[in-house]
């Protein structure tokens, strides 16, 4: 449906020596018909620029963009289709609802301009009403757009994007301007709409839980490159590098050296003793590595059970009660670990405890200071 190949976009930067910096650096991905694809990353990672290149609002410096077998941009073939001829729907971060029009006129606008300007009036009415009903705003058609609440504006923007029956729907952080409760309910709403309409969607967000909960597949971006691409489970459970492990969810890193294989995994030597990990990513025997384990996977046990594999004794340095869980900071002989346990488990500060790092949740990654390999051609699992 959507193919992006070797997309590049540079900006002028007077501070860097080359004079130009890559905002989007040889990015490639493919989205199949009807799927929900998310570009996830911190601000400035190039995700919005990538989206705007697909939209045609930015002019890329190289690469190809193909939607439904139609070349929208090609650096080599010198094809540039202007944004108004691309037939894509887009929802902007600010919704970009035109304040001088009412709800109906906002949605009808795309049918009254450009190539669609000859749409018969009756058909305009029918299609606008259908689009408004899809987002459940049918009863507000005559209202002024500025009189809508944030959530309603967001749905109005969606209706306007859908009314042209676009080949691709582009969403630029559409939920980021809403308060937390509304955001959660609109997540379900958006997912339902996307599935019902069967519309191929590219979604941009910096919110990892949004990305994980809504997508069929996620591309994590860092400094203009795709760091890892895959379905939400593999992104969360099998991060391929420390950046993804750290950015998607939170994690503990323990430095060590891979020393050898074992029947149920690999052994990593660390200052606190050997740790058995279930998998290694991008490292081999005798390589320095980072063991990654998520706080919620660590088991905190009472004192005295310091015997099994991956068990270490430590001491509670601090604890935070967050309501749904208890977060402990535990001091080991070398370094610290963050652990999240159920709120019922209460250990006072200063209490000696034993932590258990389950083998199946521990993985060894290539160290942070090594250049992050851009897995452009990485097979996705």
């Amino acid at each position: 449906m959507l193919q992006v190949r070797d997309l590049c976009k540079t900006f002028q930067d007077h501070e860097s020596k080359a004079g130009r910096v890559y905002a989007v650096d040889h990015v490639s991905f493919t989205v199949e018909e009807g799927k929900f694809f998310t570009l996830l990353g911190p601000s400035g990672c190039g995700k919005t620029t990538t989206l705007r290149c697909i939209a045609g609002l930015e002019h890329p410096d190289g690469g190809d963009i193909v939607v439904a077998d139609r070349v929208l941009y090609s650096g080599k073939q010198k094809v540039v289709v202007s944004p108004n001829d691309r037939n894509l729907g887009m929802v902007f971060q600010s919704y970009a609802i035109w304040p001088h029009m009412n709800v109906f006129d906002n949605v009808a606008f795309p049918l009254r301009v450009g190539k669609r300007r000859r749409t018969p009036k009756a058909q305009v009415r029918e299609r606008v009403e259908r689009a408004l009903n899809v987002v459940e705003l049918g009863h507000l058609a005559g209202r002024f757009a500025t009189k809508l609440s944030g959530g309603q504006q967001q749905r109005l923007a969606l209706a306007r994007a859908l009314v042209i029956e676009p080949s691709l729907l582009l969403l630029d952080e559409p939920l980021s301007n809403l308060d937390a409760k509304l955001r959660e309910s609109l997540r379900f709403e958006l997912k339902r709409l996307q599935r019902e309409q069967g519309i191929t969607t590219v979604y941009v967000t910096h919110d990892q839980s949004e990305a994980l909960s809504m997508s069929n597949s996620v591309a994590v971006m860092q400094e203009g490159r795709i760091s890892q691409i895959g379905d939400p489970f593999s992104i969360y459970l099998n991060p391929e590098n420390p950046f993804v492990a750290d950015f998607v969810g939170s994690t503990n890193f323990i430095e060590g050296v891979v020393v050898g294989r074992q029947d149920d995994g690999w052994v990593v030597r660390t200052p606190n003793g050997p740790i058995v990990v279930s998998a290694v990513m991008g490292v081999q025997e005798n390589d320095r590595c980072m063991v990654s384990i998520r706080p919620e996977h660590i088991e905190v046990l009472g004192d005295g059970s310091d015997s099994g594999t991956n068990c270490f004794s430590g001491e509670v340095a601090a604890r935070l009660f967050t309501g749904e869980s208890m977060v402990y900071r535990i001091t080991l002989p070398h370094g610290e670990l963050n652990c999240r346990t159920s709120a019922e488990l209460r250990f006072a500060s200063g209490k000696p405890v034993t932590v258990h790092l389950p083998v199946k949740h521990a993985i060894a990654l290539s160290p942070k200071d090594a250049p992050v390999r851009a897995p452009e051609e990485a097979a996705v699992g």
């Binding site: 193919q3 190949r5 490639s28 991905f29 493919t30 989205v31 199949e32 799927k35 939209a55 045609g56 609002l57 002019h59 190809d64 193909v66 077998d69 139609r70 070349v71 090609s74 073939q77 094809v79 289709v81 202007s82 944004p83 108004n84 001829d85 691309r86 037939n87 894509l88 729907g89 887009m90 902007f92 971060q93 600010s94 970009a96 035109w98 304040p99 001088h100 606008f109 795309p110 301009v113 450009g114 190539k115 669609r116 002024f144 500025t146 923007a157 306007r160 994007a161 042209i164 582009l170 069929n216 597949s217 691409i229 895959g230 379905d231 593999s234 452009e376 051609e377 996705v380 699992g381």
Partner: protein, 578 residues
């Protein structure tokens, strides 16, 4: 899930055929090119012709004209007068304008609303009317104020309007509202917490004023002084009405005289015009430099703060009386004098006896004067035409400057701002030079006035258009493009409506200043293309003060009604909140 994402390598061994269209220049590019051509023609051609005319004689390129122009007797005195007049009136306007702005923003003195009115109304009253009504307030023999001062024995305060001090005083009062507005903005932009923390450190109020408040607004103050000096150099009405009879010449009146005498002294006019232009350009470049430096002083934090007014205590009422006097002198007295003049068949100093001859005869006589009707028609056509043209053109130029991605877009703003430094009289001189020879037969038609007005008021239109466009988020336009709208559709149906409040405000402003315009029109009109300000000038020259005043009152009332109606309407266009 794996099927979802094939390895990119095997996706498209060869890309499907793209739409190969004829390579044609993008719409934005064409629009930019047209705008650049028009801007360049309007702005650069007068400058080039002026310099060309000044630096050539019958034998070719030479500097002989310069020497000849400055060897004319009285030219040294003229230069001295020009500077004395410009700096003097700048001093008057800066001192009054700044003091009033300070009291208005920073203190709890009552009667503040009077000051807002006092800052707006003089912008509406044409300068020629203001000056003429002051003749009847301040001239040595018939001036009302001078009569009053002599009557109460304050002879030493008497100033004659027809003298350099009189010119300075009257022009300074006309400029004061401009300084007031500039300084008002500056005082409003300074965080009062800076003053409060000075007070908390133990400084007294006068110490705080001297050591914190004034230094903070110093860049703005310097800018205001320079702008007033430049305006003083450009000023035509006061030197023409008051200076010529008093034989006190400045640049503008000399240029006017050179072109009005026989044989016409084009060489002198062009050399004086170039000199004046160099002075105003230097002044405004200096202002720009100060403003750029001033950005470091900026204390605007983005979040709005309402300055907490200082308590003046016992001084509240004396300060308010000052406001009242200012309002009386700058707004009320000139207008009342105009009304009084319009009611008498021939001028008499206001008295009970004179009340007997009051009549509305002058108002009925307006239309019997030859040329008045066509002048009203011409002024209306020109004002509507130039306001509409300026705002439409500048909306597009503002869009190119702020929103387009074409290289060198900042340049548009620079060219459109050049006429700020172009005195009206100088522009008139330059346009005469161009269209006397140009194959375009517009000399002596309304078109030449139209070109002059558009050129002069472009910079103001640009300010209004770009400040309102800056508030229109780019995403609003992007979403129109994504909806399938081309450049023209998205500009007309999304960008323009959202800019409407600014466009409308600019439209009113350009209307008003076009109707007031005298200094270019006086050089460019012909017997068929008189405009209102020119008719007033001619009535003044013929001594028909009664009809002049009646026409003036009509003009002021019409302009005020226009402003009121448009601002009333302004609430209903553009973005609707209700």
């Amino acid at each position: 899930m794996t099927a979802l994402l094939a390895a990119p390598g095997e996706v498209t061994p060869d890309l499907p055929r793209g739409e190969r269209r004829r390579r044609r220049p993008s719409v934005t590019f064409v629009v930019a090119a047209v705008c650049l051509l028009v801007l360049g023609y309007l702005v650069l051609s007068p400058l080039v012709y002026l310099v060309w005319r000044g630096l050539t004689t019958g034998e070719g390129l030479s500097l002989a004209n310069i020497g000849a122009a400055y060897r004319v007797s009285g030219s040294a005195e003229m230069v001295g007068n020009s500077f004395a007049f410009a700096f003097g009136s700048a001093a008057v306007s800066t001192i009054t304008g700044t003091a009033l702005a300070f009291f208005c923003t920073r203190t709890n003195a009552p009667l503040k609303p009077l000051l807002y009115a006092a800052s707006l109304i003089p912008l509406i009253v044409p300068g020629i009317l203001f000056t003429i009504s002051w003749v009847f307030l301040l001239s040595d023999d018939i001036g009302l104020i001078n009569h009053f001062l002599r009557a109460v024995g304050l002879d030493f305060l008497v100033v004659d309007a027809f003298s350099l001090p009189g010119m300075i005083l009257i022009d300074g009062m006309h400029q004061a509202p401009l300084v007031f507005l500039l300084m008002f903005a500056a005082f409003r932009a300074t965080d009062p917490a800076l003053e409060e923390s000075s007070l908390m450190s133990g400084a007294t109020l006068p110490q705080t004023l001297r050591r914190v408040t004034l230094p903070l607004v110093r860049p703005a103050l310097a800018g205001a002084v320079l702008i007033s000096v430049v305006r003083g150099l450009e000023s035509f009405e006061t030197p023409a009405v008051l200076g010529i009879p008093a034989n006190t010449w400045v640049f503008t009146s000399r240029i006017f005289q050179a072109l009005g005498s026989y044989p016409v002294k084009y060489d002198i006019a062009s050399i004086y015009s170039i000199t004046l232009l160099l002075l105003t350009v230097a002044g405004l470049l200096f202002v720009q430099r100060i403003n750029r430096r001033a950005e470091r002083y900026q204390t605007i934090s983005g979040k709005g703060f309402r300055p907490r007014p200082m308590d003046l205590g016992a001084w509240r009422w004396p300060v308010s009386i000052l406001f009242g006097v200012y309002f009386l002198v700058v707004v009320l007295l000139p207008l009342l004098m105009l009304v009084w003049m319009s009611l008498l068949p021939f001028y008499q100093v206001p008295s009970v006896k004179a009340l007997g001859s009051v009549s509305l005869e002058n108002y009925t006589r307006i239309f019997s004067k030859p040329g008045v009707k066509s002048a009203i028609q011409n002024s209306t056509i020109l004002a509507l035409g130039s306001a509409t043209a300026v705002m439409l053109f500048m909306s597009v130029v503002a869009w190119l400057t702020l929103k387009s991605k074409i290289p060198g877009r900042r340049f548009f703003d620079t060219i459109a701002s050049v006429p700020l430094a172009l005195p009206g009289l100088v522009l008139g001189v330059a346009l005469i030079f161009i269209y006397l020879r140009s194959p375009l037969p517009i000399y002596g038609t309304l078109a030449i006035l139209f070109i002059a007005y558009i050129t002069r008021y472009m910079p103001y239109g640009m300010r209004y258009a770009s400040s309102s466009l800056a508030q229109v988020s780019t995403e609003l336009e992007d979403s129109a493009r994504m909806s399938g709208a081309g450049w023209f559709d998205s500009f007309r149906r999304v960008v323009m409506p959202l800019m409407m409040p600014g466009i409308l405000a600019g439209w009113v402003y350009v209307m008003i200043v076009s109707i007031r315009e005298l200094s270019s029109s006086i050089l460019l009109y012909s017997s068929n293309t008189r405009v209102l300000s020119v008719v007033i000038w001619e009535l003044w020259a013929n001594g028909e003060t009664g009809v002049l005043a009646a026409l003036g009152v009509g003009m002021v009332v019409a302009l005020m009604l226009l402003v009121a109606v448009v601002y009333k309407l302004g609430g209903r266009v553009g973005v609707r909140d209700a």
